[in-house]
Amino acid sequence: MESSMTRFGLVLLLAAGLGACASVPPPESEVGKADLALRKAEQADAAHFAPLEMRVARTKLEAARAAMRDEENLEARRLAEQAKLDALLAEATAQAARRREAADTIRADIEALRAEAKRASNRIPGETR
């Protein structure tokens, strides 16, 4: 009776140990999401506007894949999750920078227009350009 109890406890412990390992499945979904976010960021030309965040994101995604191959699934999930947010940040940064550039370009346009208009109005009326 006592020996059977001990065996049962051992089996339980083993099962728990295995369960701990098995409870972390390969983070396929997280890696996929990180990959998608990275592609989106690349399309937004984030490599130009946010090179640091992009490099970090890429490195982490590669590390996540490597960890998944080594069945270090917990580490792989964390890396993939971080890579995804790094990529999102890179994309948002790039978008903001591009919009900032657009606003500055139009502002410069307006300045140029104003200067040109001023030159034009200073010309003698009727004089050909």
Binding site: L89, Q95, I110, L113, A117
Partner: protein, 308 residues
């Protein structure tokens, strides 16, 4: 002091639970610094009006992330996972800030684009106004040119008409244009023999002359008396002078200013025909009225008197 078994019984469980609570608190692992800082970052972003306005979704995601991370920590007290979650929360805050900057930049770009449209419109309006002003100026100049041309044409027409009228009037006066001026000859028949009084028949022609002179006030007039060669020089000069005076008097009475006229008798000095025949002599007995060209002075155009 006697102990009360009832009260002693009640105190034991209470002190036990206090002990237990104390033990729990003492044993609780402190929250990782990264997670504390992540909470601070989320709260700071939430207090910023711009972030709440421009990136509400991203801010909410950050809030949910920190709440989830904190709950997970209290559940598992897994430091590694907490630090990982803190990283994710911090990233979400940064993403919210980047979105805010992007949205503000877009708003500014849109405002700038509208402003550019306004400036363009303003410039085009100014250009149009300038072009219009130039066109109007040119049109005004053209109108002036046309007006000037028209005036010149009108003046030329008026001049031509005046010339024509003058010719007609001269023809009516039976005058002729000579290099001395317009010469109108009043024949001998308009005076009584040896008299200086104008016959009524002479006046019709002289009225036309008065009209003419009134119309051309800038012209001065020489009135010359002439005779044939019969009679003494003295007599002929006197008669020709009187006849010339009679004509001038007529003109003056009829409103021709005396300073415009000079009367002079020349006797037989300037014959226009032979004195051998009676017909020739009749031609020589005459009064010539010389209407000078405009601006010519009568006193400067007198013919010399014959030598005595």
């Amino acid at each position: 002091m006697r102990t009360n078994p009832r009260s002693s019984n009640a105190i034991v469980p209470l002190s036990l639970s206090v002990l237990l609570l104390g033990a729990l608190l003492a044993c609780a692992t402190p929250m990782p610094q990264a997670l504390v800082e992540a909470r601070v970052a989320v709260d700071a972003a939430e207090r910023e009006a711009d972030v709440a306005r421009y990136a509400p979704v991203e801010l909410d995601e950050a809030k949910q992330a920190i709440q989830g991370a904190e709950a997970l920590w209290y559940e598992d007290e897994d430091t590694d996972e907490a630090e990982h979650q803190a990283y994710l929360v911090t990233r979400r805050v940064e993403i919210a800030r980047a979105f805010t900057a992007g949205a503000k930049a877009m708003e500014e770009a849109e405002a700038m684009a509208r402003k550019r449209e306004a400036v363009l419109l303003e410039i085009r309006t100014e250009e149009a106004d300038r072009a219009l002003a130039v066109a109007e100026k040119r049109a005004a100049e053209a109108r002036l040119d046309r007006a000037a041309a028209e005036q010149a044409r009108a003046e030329a027409t008026a001049l031509a008409e005046r010339e024509k009228k003058l010719r007609e009037e001269l023809a009516e006066l039976q005058a002729e244009k000579t290099e001395r001026g317009i010469v109108l000859t009043l024949g001998d028949v308009l005076f009584d023999v040896d008299q200086a009084t104008l016959k009524p028949g002479a006046t019709q022609n002289l009225y036309r002359l008065v009209t003419f002179l009134r119309e051309y006030p800038e012209r001065q007039v020489l009135v010359e008396g002439h005779t044939d060669s019969t009679g003494t020089e003295e007599y002929n000069l006197g008669l020709s002078q009187r006849r010339a005076d009679a004509v001038v008097q007529f003109l003056t009475v009829n409103g021709v200013a005396p300073e415009r006229t000079i009367a002079r008798g020349y006797g037989k000095a300037y014959p226009v025909a032979t004195n051998e025949t009676s017909e020739g002599r009749q031609h020589n007995r005459r009064v010539e009225i010389v209407i000078l060209d405009p601006g010519a002075k009568a006193a400067e155009r007198l013919r010399p008197l014959p030598d005595r």
